[in-house]
Symmetry: C2
Subunit: 225 residues, 2 copies
């Protein structure tokens, strides 16, 4: 029987590609979506459509953590950065950093994996994220894998839970190419941070997505709502 993996699925381009990569690799996937008050909760709609398309179970968790309002990604009263493309990720940790987000996501993923007997948690961290967000870097996920090994029933039983980051060496162009290869439904994905009905085209995430498609020589099939 195929082994089970928990895939953290936001509904964006990266996590969707990671999910279809995992399917291609033969994992039996359980997707996990976490709502944490992000202004772009529109992602959840995408995550549901994507999980259905992939034919996988989707677990949804809603967190109410008021202190995350420290982030411009959660507090809609804060201004989203609107930097020139070349400066994105160059100015230290951006205002869209959510304190401990991937630590929480991986903790929830590892907890679910330990409960259902999944042998891996898959996260869509990549080069673009890791330029600004400390919790997207390979050293961080490697360290988390060690805590997962030590702190779970499965790890204790000699069946450690792996943290897989298939996109970790890829930029957006590379992710889009991988997405095409693994047949990820890019037209269902949602990237915009702003929380409108259609992508704003101005936030960091919209700009990086547009650049990725341009460099990959592809038209973005991304749907409006």
């Amino acid at each position: 029987m195929r082994e089970r993996a928990v895939v953290l699925l936001s509904g964006g381009l990266d996590s969707t590609t990671a999910l279809f990569w995992a399917k291609t690799r033969g994992w039996r996937v359980t997707a996990l979506n976490v709502l944490y008050g992000q202004r772009h909760a529109r992602e959840l709609k995408s995550a549901r459509l994507i999980a259905r398309r992939a034919g996988v179970e989707l677990r949804e968790v809603m967190l109410d953590l008021p202190w995350l309002k420290a982030s411009a990604l959660v507090d809609a009263k804060r201004r989203l950065p609107d930097l020139p493309l070349a400066q994105i990720g160059r100015g230290g940790i951006p205002a869209t950093y959510v304190p401990g987000r991937n630590t929480i996501f991986l903790a929830l993923g590892v907890s679910l994996a330990d409960a259902v007997g999944a042998r891996a948690v898959v996260l869509g961290s990549n080069v673009q994220d890791s330029s600004g967000y400390p919790d997207c870097r390979p050293q961080f996920t490697a360290a988390f894998e060690k805590t997962a090994k030590l702190g779970t029933r499965l790890g204790n039983d000699g069946k450690p839970i792996k943290i897989l980051t298939p996109l970790v060496r890829l930029d957006k162009k590379g992710i889009i190419r991988l997405a095409v290869k693994v047949k990820a439904p890019l037209e269902l994905t949602w990237s915009c941070y702003a929380g409108g009905k259609t992508p704003c085209g101005r936030c960091d995430s919209c700009k990086l997505r547009a650049k990725g498609f341009a460099e990959a020589g592809l038209i973005d099939p991304g749907a409006a709502a």
Copy 2:
């Protein structure tokens, strides 16, 4: 100005002692209570009384993670272990293990610490827990400290968040003695797993508590509801 610490406060004997230890050490404490569907949610009442007594802010988080029903501590339909005292913690991971619980608790604590600028997260792990629960052992918390250093804004800025486990070498007797020393209000704490209005006296937690008080030569002031 004194540095801030986040103390994970369940409302039990261990975490209450850890909180008063932290105060004694001069930390400015923010307490964090996490409800995860445990049958002994009665703890929250204790946590509130204890935080008020300590004069510290209490943050409360409620999680709805259906997969935690794998644990007898969450699913009231499962039977709580009723082992002879000498066998508690000797039979591998007990039925009361909650998958990834301390991984989630520490993730939430680290996220809060990173948001409010706290330099430590304090956890009441101890010898008694670590005999059975893998996520209470010193190796686990040490590994988590490394992920916290790598995955946060504070760690990135050269101000890593410490994970402090002041009880890690203590058994219940030792914890009760420390509690007396730091003037922790033991009469407000709640230990019973069963979720009744008064402690059941039969679950692992009640038995270990009774043994601890007996060995410390003290009467348990623990209140009924």
